[in-house]
């Protein structure tokens, strides 16, 4: 050390700061000293430039665990001791206050379970069609029809669309079309109705459906070939080893034999394209060219080049369509003036599932799903989790009196606020962890029910997914934080002197707890209002008088075609049967069309259907004017029609214009039809729509049978026998009109179930929280109650005294929930042409329910407190 010069060298300062910050304090002095001295030595020897470079290495060499602040042993021991203590205290608290632990864990686990289910649900929703290798290149060609009553989007296209676009638009690499038809499938002597999907040869190279047997580009090389799904193979042959076997399909009353060339894996449940039996598209379509563009009966998919953008392709469609279909467009404008324009668009494959807008014509695609369900379900699940978290917050804060002494002592012996925050947050995490485990169990248990409700086949194995697991961990952490943060902050803020010195009243008024209770009950009441509203509307939908009698009315579907002879034969057979009240013929549905009235001056849009003379009396639809069809008038078959009141009104044939509807002439497809009768309006469509003009022609259709109420099975047997006599090879298929009418409201029924479940859970968890709060209040006021009783208060006085605070909160919540509920119900009801009036009881009933549940909950506690012997509460101090 004697050889150093007087010049001083100053090493870079960053190292000093770094080391001072992270090094344990007892080492800082020697380490920094070493570094400075070494730097000075180096600078003398090799110059400052090089010394600076080496200095970095010197500093790095000191970055060792043993030099860090944390690792100093004394601190470790204290930390571990504190941690150990936290866990113990948390465990004791959980065990000692079983009621609170139970309330908290039950609530949180229900909330978490709901959220887990929703995460599962939404994951499934967004995962639809993601498994196709070319998913980003596959698009469906859709049609957008601009009509004078708005825009109608169609998922279907005609046969000509795919090849024409593929030929003209260079970005289209290939196209594939598909169409479903219900066919009669014959396996040996057994007949089945089967949905058969006709697909193009390249089906398996466009979509990623793996084959377990057969090669993907060869299966459809012959005309009479067939590919089965594994399920279908098992259904018909009991094995998947079926290549080379044959099945017959019925085409226009002729059975054609198909050789099975391949077996495909069952389409995954999150696939929009579902199939059992595939046949080649070219079968039955020898000349591919069908020249009409405006028709929407099959699905066309195109595969774009990897570099192409669908936004660029769409405008080209318009050009091609305008040039190729000019003549047809002209014709269409003349004939259907209400159609203003038709445009072809593209829809990405991955969007098909969540786009419910595109019509009912699915062609091998499962019905889409409205994303609104995801939103509503997520909303309800979050509500429930929020309510449960509020319980936790409220109970912990209200419970803090009991923990006050512990907090005080922790602070007195040197506990810092941060430590207390960590402790209480930790406790909320412990509780959340328990709730989380319970939630997993709950999910396991209710998954089957949930699947039914949500129309899914979700399974718990879905959970084994990194994204989902991390989602759940986030959910868990978020819940722990939300529930634990506020209590931790409040509890850690207590002043130890106050707590330990005398009786301590933590924040006397506690607006936050009250506010949260109001919020909870407002949410719960809101959901109850929703439930009552939906029940009322649903009741209206299912019980409203439809204007005809659908009871015991069975329909035997005959399919397309004219079956005059067969119908007559069946009618004859069944006429004598005692279990059958009446037989009629009516085309099953009705189709929208257009005609001209008032000397071809005005257009009128209406629905058309075909009936025989027996239908109106059988369905008990009364005639307002004129007469029914009759065999006495042979002209009825060709020239007469019956209309409904709305038709007459729309056409302007009423008392006002002094035109009698009877005898008016309607020009429909160049036929002159005379009105012979007017029927009273009846609801032939769902109650979402108002009644439209309806026109009946006298004609053939499906078989409608009115059965005697007490002999339904017998009657159906007889019908089946008659049916099998005329259609020996066809499976017998029937429906009851009442079930069809109910099926119209499946969506509403689902809403009803969802909201009911949400309302039940939320009111249940809210009242559990209220129960806990009441319990705490009473414990705090035990002495007060005792003194009041000694001074002569009656049981009812005391019950009122305790209940009134809570009841007030519930009433405030109710007042808040009314406008929100009214808005929501009103919004929902906009979809219905026929809807309930928002009368006072829709709001009064939920209020009453919420209030009485609250009062009953509190009474458990308050009555117990009020009838207790005051000696017990006053004896000990």
């Amino acid at each position: 050390m004697s050889k150093h010069k007087k010049k001083t060298y100053q090493p870079p300062r960053w190292a000093d700061k770094l080391l001072q910050r992270f090094c344990s304090p007892e080492l800082v002095e020697e380490i920094l000293g070493d570094l400075h001295e070494r730097y000075a030595l180096r600078a003398q020897k090799v110059g400052e430039q090089k010394a600076k470079k080496q200095y970095v290495r010197e500093v790095m060499a000191y970055i060792r665990l043993s030099n860090f602040k944390l690792s100093s042993e004394g601190k470790n021991i204290i930390l571990m001791g504190i941690l150990n203590n936290y866990i113990k205290v948390a465990g004791r608290n959980l065990l000692r206050h079983k009621a609170f632990s139970f309330i908290n864990i039950t609530g949180l686990s229900i909330g978490l379970a709901c959220c887990m289910l929703i995460v599962l649900y939404t994951k499934d929703e967004v995962s639809f069609d993601q498994f196709h290798e070319k998913k980003d290149q596959i698009y469906r060609v859709t049609a957008m029809m601009t009509r004078d009553d708005g825009i109608k989007k169609l998922g279907g296209t005609n046969q000509i669309v795919g090849p024409s676009f593929a030929a003209e638009v260079p970005e289209i690499a290939s196209y594939t079309r598909m169409e479903t038809t219900t066919k009669i499938l014959r396996n040996g002597t057994d007949n089945y109705n089967e949905e058969v999907l006709a697909v193009e040869d390249n089906f398996f190279s466009v979509f990623s459906f793996p084959l377990v047997a057969g090669s993907s580009n060869q299966v459809f090389s012959e005309l009479n070939t067939m590919v089965l799904s594994e399920n279908a193979a098992k259904k018909y042959f009991g094995t998947t080893d079926v290549v080379g076997k044959t099945l017959d399909l019925n085409f226009e009353d002729q059975f054609e034999s198909f050789v099975i060339t391949g077996v495909a894996k069952n389409p995954p449940q999150n696939s929009s394209i579902q199939f059992n039996v595939l046949i080649p598209f070219k079968f039955g379509r020898p000349s591919d060219e069908e020249s009409n563009w405006v028709g929407f009966h099959l699905n066309t998919f195109v595969v774009l080049n990897e570099t192409a953008s669908w936004m660029d392709v769409e405008p080209k469609f318009d050009q091609v369509f305008q040039s190729k279909a000019a003549e047809e467009l002209k014709l269409m404008r003349e004939r259907f003036a209400f159609i203003k324009a038709v445009n072809f668009k593209l829809q990405p494959l991955s969007q098909i599932h969540l786009d419910a807008e595109y019509g009912a014509l699915r062609n091998g695609l499962t019905s889409g799903s409205d994303p609104i369900y995801s939103y509503i379900l997520s909303g309800i699940a979050l509500f429930i989790l929020l309510i449960a978290s509020i319980n936790f917050i409220n109970l912990t804060v209200a419970h803090s009196l009991r923990r006050a002494k512990e907090i005080g002592i922790r602070k007195v012996i040197g506990g810092q606020r941060v430590q207390l925050v960590i402790q209480f947050l930790g406790e909320s995490f412990v509780l959340c962890l328990l709730a989380f485990c319970a939630a997993i169990l709950i999910v396991q248990l209710v998954l089957p029910t949930f699947n039914e409700l949500a129309n899914k086949q979700l399974s718990f194995t879905y959970l084994l997914d990194i994204k989902l697991i991390s989602g759940y961990v986030i959910l868990f952490l978020a819940t722990g934080l939300i529930a634990g943060f506020y209590p931790a902050l409040v509890l850690s803020g207590f002043e130890p002197v106050k707590i330990l010195y005398n009786r301590f009243q933590p924040n006397g008024k506690n607006y936050l707890v009250k506010g949260l209770v109001v919020f909870q009950f407002a949410l719960a009441t809101f959901l109850i209002i929703g439930t009552v509203g939906i029940y009322a509307q649903f009741n209206l939908l299912t019980n409203k008088d439809l204007g005809y009698n659908d009871e015991n009315l069975a329909i035997v579907h005959l399919g397309n075609g004219d079956y005059e002879l067969e119908l007559n034969s069946m009618k004859n057979d069944l006429a004598k049967d005692v279990s059958i009240e009446n037989i009629a013929v009516k085309y099953f549905g009705q189709s929208g069309t257009i005609g001209k009235i008032n000397n071809n001056e005005t257009d009128i849009k209406f629905d058309i259907s075909w009936i025989d003379e027996a239908f109106l009396p059988m369905a008990e639809i009364p005639l307002v004017e004129g007469r029914n069809f009759s065999t006495d008038f042979p002209n009825d078959k060709t020239q007469s029609v019956i209309i409904n009141e709305t038709f007459a009104k729309e056409a302007g044939w009423d008392a006002l214009s002094q035109k009698n509807p009877i005898g008016q002439v309607i020009n429909y497809r160049d036929e002159q039809l005379t009105v012979v009768g007017v029927i009273k309006d009846y609801h032939f469509r769902s109650l979402r729509e108002s009644i439209r003009p309806l026109l009946f022609k006298n004609g053939s259709g499906d078989l409608w049978i009115k059965l005697k109420a007490d002999q339904i099975p017998l009657g159906l047997d007889a019908v089946q026998k008659a049916y099998e006599k005329v259609f020996p090879f066809r499976p017998f298929h029937y429906d009851f009109m009442s079930t069809i009418n109910e099926r119209r409201y499946v969506v509403e029924a689902k809403w009803k179930e969802m909201i009911t479940a949400g309302a039940l859970l939320s009111i249940f968890i809210s009242s559990m929280g209220l129960f806990g709060l009441a319990m705490l209040t009473i414990q705090r006021r035990t002495k007060e109650v005792g003194i009041r009783k000694v001074l002569g208060a009656k049981v009812t006085d005391i019950v009122t005294l305790i209940s009134v605070d809570f009841v007030r909160l519930v009433i405030i919540a109710f007042v808040i929930a009314i406008p929100a509920g009214a808005y929501a119900i009103n919004y929902w009801l906009q979809d219905f042409a026929y809807r309930i009036e928002l009368s006072w009881w829709i709001f009064a009933l939920p209020g009453f329910v919420a209030l009485s549940i609250a009062i009953i909950t509190i009474s458990f506690q308050s009555v117990k407190a009020a009838i207790a012997n005051p000696i017990d509460s006053l004896r000990n101090e």
């Binding site: 150093h4 002095e29 920094l32 000293g33 400075h36 060499a61 042993e73 002592i409 012996i413």
Partner: protein
């Protein structure tokens, strides 16, 4: 009630801490006993401390080693070895005087303990025994330097 609660809680906390301290110290001892051997770098550091004694501290040791071994030796590596050797009981240390180059900071001076002395002697014994047993002409010739 209050007093009893306080008391029991307080004692509980103290008791818990003490028990932990005892446990941990025991554990560390067991830990150290098992690792009482001497690494190669530790051995040269220990010997250098003996050479430089009583003026042995990290920078001096590092400088000396850099000269002897002919490669860069950081003070940090030496410092860590010294810490380890002290933990193993082969060295003791005390704070020395402050110098100007150190920015007025004191240095930590190391000296060898009896255990350390025994250790270096043992190591030397082993080496000597081994050297003595190497037969003549067993080691191939090479040019020193």
């Amino acid at each position: 009630m209050l007093l009893r609660g306080t008391f029991s809680f307080g004692t509980y906390l103290l008791y818990e801490n003490r028990r932990y301290t005892i446990n941990l110290i025991l554990n560390i001892d067991i830990f150290l006993m098992r690792r009482s051997d001497l690494g190669e770098f530790e051995e040269v550091v220990l010997l250098t401390v003996a050479v430089l004694s009583p003026e042995a501290y990290s920078v001096a040791v590092a400088e000396e080693l850099e000269e002897q071994l002919g490669r860069m030796i950081t003070t940090g590596a030496v410092h860590a070895a010294l810490q380890r050797l002290e933990k193993k009981g082969f060295l003791t240390s005390k704070m020395g005087e402050a110098t100007q180059e150190r920015g007025g900071r004191r240095k930590r001076l190391f000296s060898i303990t009896v255990a350390g002395s025994r250790m270096v002697h043992e190591v030397r014994e082993v080496r000597n025994r081994l050297w003595g047993r190497i037969g003549p002409d067993t080691l191939p010739e090479f040019n020193m330097g």
